[in-house]
């Protein structure tokens, strides 16, 4: 359980820090630091067991049926990364306190940082690969937020977008790779995957999965040729760079390589892909770093180069190389984080990061300079510092590999060359910034920064020194635990020592130092050479590619999307036709096994009327009123069909809905033209006829095929349980309010939303009120005929009585909330028609929105009510009572639910019609009470 608290605390910290915007800077920093400190405490509590070789697991079942659990694990490798994430994270939080100016929102940056920390912790602790991927994507998103923190700068936005595009695309490849792995192994459990090396590597799709996973790792770790996003991500505030590019974001890719090392490594493909990519990145980064005038640019390419070094080590075929890789992960994190922070101080104090202007800083910032120089020396691999030890191991391992067959000797040579460039750019960093004459045109005179801004650097530099001088004491425990997690039983014996005697690696180190200093002294010629090369602007290339993709998409969209609704409809209908029609061709016989029932004369007449009505609607569709009347015949016949085939509930609903629909459409004709102009060309009509009739034939065939096949229904359950479980004999109603009550709740909600939508659409409509129809006839000779008014008024109580009766009997006989609601609505609509809205509003001033809300509310709370009796949502309760004079009566909670349905239907229907009707009555009075 305590394991879960580590990412959870960090997530909570993200929320807490977001709320500290109004507090003082110190308080905000302390509150933010609280969560990672606690998490670090929990990690330390687990550390002894993990260092002893144990793996701690925690799992919380989420959807066990498809193997999705929240599952965490803590082994040596995770522990190492968690120390870096939490430890350096805490230092960065402290550093940010002094780095950010008062104009920047510190709470926002802290919140993003903590979110990012959560994502990183999630990656290193996940024991399920899909879960791992989720956190992986979260790092992409949160790093986007961090890099674009200074969003008002164009370069920050572009850099953030580039980072997101590259790492996001890699993330998708990774997802595909992980799913393939899960498919090969049969489990998404990391434990299972790591233990299935043989199955994975003998599988046909091993190479595909490997390449996909590596794409994810390489894009994240900025490996060549995906490195270009990293220098542009330097537009982020420096604390962010210090965090993302030393210990976390880019190390996530390395972590992935190390994590999947037990399952994926060991084949030639792995060694070639990982080794060569690492080698190329190592050389490329080290070379370019030398030419960067921007301090952060230098560190960015140096980071790329060191990431390449670690990748190369993971791609070498010796076990010790893996140990060296893990060792260098630690060392690089410490010296690179401190260097970034030192650069941040220099930038903060001088206002520039340009090495051509920054000279002689030693005089102004002696203390910071000392710290930075120690860290830079560690980066170069100077003895007595941690960088030296891992670089020695690296040189030694390049000598022992056989990755390139007979050409393997090339690797140590190229490694030495890269080492020389590392010394050269480190020398440039030290000499150009701190010595080399006087500063040129600095924006301001630098001073030493506040005391506590240096503390994080001091801590990191002390670690560099401790590891460099007493490696066995300082680092051996965690290094061996992490290596054990990666290598398992193949764990080699190794000796961390400063002095291994005069040997080849030492010679290589010496050559690198001498060569590096030589390069630095003669840098003028190299700079000239580099300047003569054609400029390679990754950002421009990237943007060109992105723009061309967007242009391509736009051209495709505009060629299909021309704004013609009729055209879209034709395309959609064609798809429907294809999907529905195709299976018909594969059927052997359309008619099923059931015998046909004979056609009696009633049915024939009904069908004839229905067909004639439908055709007449189409034929007279230009005269809209006639067409509408024809449509009402169809609606009426549909309700007759329901009556005929034993569905009284449906017939009642259809009949009442039909009345409301036709009245609504007639009202609509008041605002719309009464005639349709002749527009379609004959060819268009022919095309539409062809589509319509083909679709009709297809649907009719499917319907016929359905009708002639035996019925295999699940309804027996409903029929058997309606009375004993739902307490009603009208099964249709019991299904609506009980068995499928949740559906009904959704449906009345939709009804309510539609009514509210209509209310909104009609508000502030620019009205045009034709005084007569299109042929010049007045709408009515008499607006409110006295006969209609008096009859409808006396009918109202009767209609309401009928609707109450229909409502109450609904559970046991045809009826229910829907039908009763519609009957009530029609009764009221009749009043509106007979008396006009003004007359109604005077006497019956009801807010229909409140009726809808109370209806949905009643239904919802009836459902929630069953929770109080420890029953699932919407469980019906019913019992029988002896009520005086009435006799034995059943009371069911379903009737309350049905009351909600009733109220919603009444509210929605009346609101729709009254909204529209109001506008016909009074154009001046815009704000009407609906």
């Amino acid at each position: 359980m305590t394991l879960l608290w580590i990412p959870l605390l960090s997530l909570i910290g993200s929320v807490i820090s977001a709320c500290t915007g109004k507090l003082s800077r110190n308080l905000s920093t302390s509150l933010t630091a609280l969560a990672p400190l606690t998490a670090l405490g929990i990690t330390l509590y687990h550390a002894p067991a993990v260092l002893a070789g144990e793996t701690i697991r925690y799992s919380l079942a989420w959807i066990p049926s498809i193997g999705l659990d929240l599952s965490l694990r803590l082994d040596g490798l995770s522990l190492l990364f968690m120390f870096m994430i939490l430890g350096i994270g805490l230092l960065v939080i402290l550093y940010t306190r002094y780095y950010l100016s008062a104009n920047d929102s510190m709470a926002k940056l802290y919140s993003y940082l903590m979110l990012f920390m959560t994502a990183m912790l999630g990656i290193v602790m996940s024991n399920n690969v899909i879960q791992l991927w989720l956190f992986w994507e979260l790092t992409s998103i949160s790093s986007f937020l961090l890099i674009s923190f200074w969003w008002h700068k164009s370069e920050a936005r572009k850099g953030a977008r580039m980072a997101l595009a590259v790492t996001g695309a890699g993330g998708l490849a990774l997802l595909a790779g992980l799913m393939l792995l899960g498919d090969i192994v049969g489990s998404y459990d990391l434990d299972v995957i790591l233990a299935s090396k043989a199955i994975i590597q003998s599988h046909d799709l091993y190479e595909v999965a490997l390449v996909l996973v590596l794409l994810g790792a390489f894009t994240k770790s900025a490996q060549f040729p995906f490195h270009f996003w990293l220098p542009h991500a330097m537009a982020a505030p420096t604390p962010v760079s210090a965090y993302l590019h030393s210990a976390t974001m880019v190390k996530a890719g390395i972590f992935l390589l190390a994590r999947f090392h037990p399952a994926l490594a060991g084949t030639d493909t792995w060694f070639l892909l990982v080794g060569l990519t690492g080698l190329a990145t190592l050389l490329f980064g080290a070379y370019i770093a030398l030419f960067k005038h921007d301090l952060k640019g230098l560190l960015a390419y140096s980071t790329i180069s060191h990431l390449g070094l670690i990748t190369l080590l993971l791609g070498l075929d010796t076990e010790l190389a893996t140990v060296a890789a893990i060792f260098h992960i630690i060392n690089h994190a410490t010296f690179k984080a401190s260097l970034f922070m030192a650069v941040g101080i220099i930038d903060h104090e001088t206002g520039t990061r340009d090495m051509r202007k920054l000279n002689g800083m030693w005089r102004y910032l002696p203390y910071t300079a000392t710290l930075a120089m120690v860290a830079a020396a560690a980066m170069a691999g100077v003895p007595l510092l941690n960088g030296f030890l891992s670089k020695e191991m690296f040189f030694a391992e390049t000598l022992h590999q056989q990755v390139l067959g007979s050409m393997s000797w090339l690797i140590p040579v190229l490694a030495t060359v890269a080492g020389a460039f590392a010394v050269a750019y480190s020398a440039r960093f030290i000499h150009d910034v701190f010595f080399n004459g006087d500063p040129i045109n600095l924006p301001r005179i630098p001073h030493e920064p506040p005391r506590y801004m240096r503390v994080p650097i001091e801590i990191l530099v002390v670690i560099c020194l401790l590891v460099g001088m007493f490696p066995h004491f300082a680092i051996d425990g965690i290094l061996s635990a992490a290596s054990l997690a990666v290598l398992g039983q193949k764990m080699p014996h190794y000796e961390l020592a400063i002095w291994h005697g005069f040997n080849l690696p030492l010679l290589m180190s010496a050559m690198a130092v001498v060569g590096g200093l030589f390069i630095y002294v003669n840098r003028k010629y190299l700079f000239q050479f580099q300047a003569s090369l054609p400029p390679l602007n990754a950002k421009k290339t990237f943007e060109r590619v992105i723009l061309s993709v967007i242009a391509w998409c736009q051209s495709k969209v505009s060629s299909t999307e021309n704004g013609s609704l009729q055209r879209y409809l034709v395309i959609m209908l064609a798809v429907v036709l294809l999907c529905a029609g195709w299976p018909l061709f594969e059927m052997q016989q359309l008619a099923g096994s059931m015998p046909l029932t004979p056609v009696d004369v009633h049915n024939a007449i009904g069908a004839g009327l229905l067909i004639i009505g439908a055709l007449a609607t189409v034929i007279w569709h230009r005269s809209r009123m006639v067409s509408l009347l024809m449509l009402s015949i169809v609606g009426l016949m549909v309700s007759v069909v329901f009556t005929r085939f034993s569905a009284p509930d449906l017939a009642l609903t259809q009949l009442t809905v039909e009345v409301v629909t036709i009245i609504l459409l007639m009202l609509a004709l008041f605002f719309l033209p009464q005639h349709t102009p002749k527009e379609s060309s004959s060819l268009r009509v022919l095309r539409d006829l062809a589509i319509a009739s083909t679709l009709g034939v297809v649907i009719a065939s499917i319907c016929y095929a359905l009708l002639t096949r035996p019925l295999d229904s699940i309804s027996d359950f409903f029929i058997a349980n309606a009375k004993i479980g739902g307490g009603g004999t009208n099964v249709v109603n019991v299904i609506l309010v009980d068995f499928r009550g949740f559906d009904t709740l959704g449906e009345i909600t939709v009804l309510g939303i539609a009514a509210l939508g209509i209310f909104k659409v009609l508000s502030r409509i620019p009205l045009f009120m034709p005084a007569s129809d299109s042929e010049g006839r007045p709408w009515a000779k008499e607006r409110h005929p006295i006969l209609l008014a008096s009859i409808s008024q006396s009918l109202l109580p009767l209609a309401l009585l009928v609707s109450a009766y229909i409502f109450l009997r609904g559970h046991n006989l045809p009826g229910g909330g829907f039908i009763a609601g519609l009957v009530t609505s029609i009764a009221f609509i009749l009043q509106y028609m007979a008396h006009g809205t003004a007359w109604i509003n005077e006497r019956f001033d009801v807010n229909y929105r409140k009726i809808i809300a109370s209806g949905i509310g009643i239904s919802l709370f009836t459902g929630v009510g069953s929770w109080f009796f420890d029953k699932p949502f919407l469980t019906t309760w019913f019992d029988y009572f002896d009520i005086p004079f009435v006799g034995k009566t059943e009371l069911a909670s379903a009737i309350a639910f049905d009351l909600g349905v009733y109220l919603t239907v009444v509210g929605a229907t009346l609101m729709i019609l009254a909204s529209l009707g109001n506008m016909t009555a009074d154009t001046q009075k815009k704000e009407v009470n609906i």
Partner: protein, 117 residues
């Protein structure tokens, strides 16, 4: 009778689709309404054609299938809500754009759109 029923559904679909493809909003609304009739009848037919069967428990031995009926009942009401929404949208479109063409304007203004005001 099955054939007759299926034909009715087919005719409703054809007429509905033809109206759906017209260029003005009102016929489209009529087409949608007609298609919803067809869909409701089609769904209802999933319970097969049962004449004079019992619907209320205890009034007979053989029952009509209640499940499609329950589904169609809500479909009718929802269908009404959608028809209402579409027709109101059409009114609003006409009011805002001055045309009841489905695209919001008449693509190539021909001589016979006298309805335009």
């Amino acid at each position: 009778m099955e054939l007759l029923y299926a034909s009715c559904v087919g005719v409703l679909v054809s007429c509905g689709v033809f109206l759906l493809l017209r260029a003005r909003t009102f016929p489209v609304v009529l087409g949608l309404t007609m298609i919803s009739y067809a869909v409701n009848l089609f769904l209802f037919s999933a319970g097969r054609l049962t004449i004079n069967k019992a619907v209320v428990l205890g009034t007979g031995t053989e029952y009509a299938d209640p499940l499609p009926q329950a589904l169609v009942l809500t479909a009718i009401v929802i269908g009404f809500a959608m028809t209402a929404f579409v027709v109101i949208l059409a009114i609003r479109g006409r009011a805002d754009l001055g045309s009841d063409h489905v695209d919001g304007y008449v693509p190539n203004t021909s001589a016979d759109n006298k309805e335009q005001k």
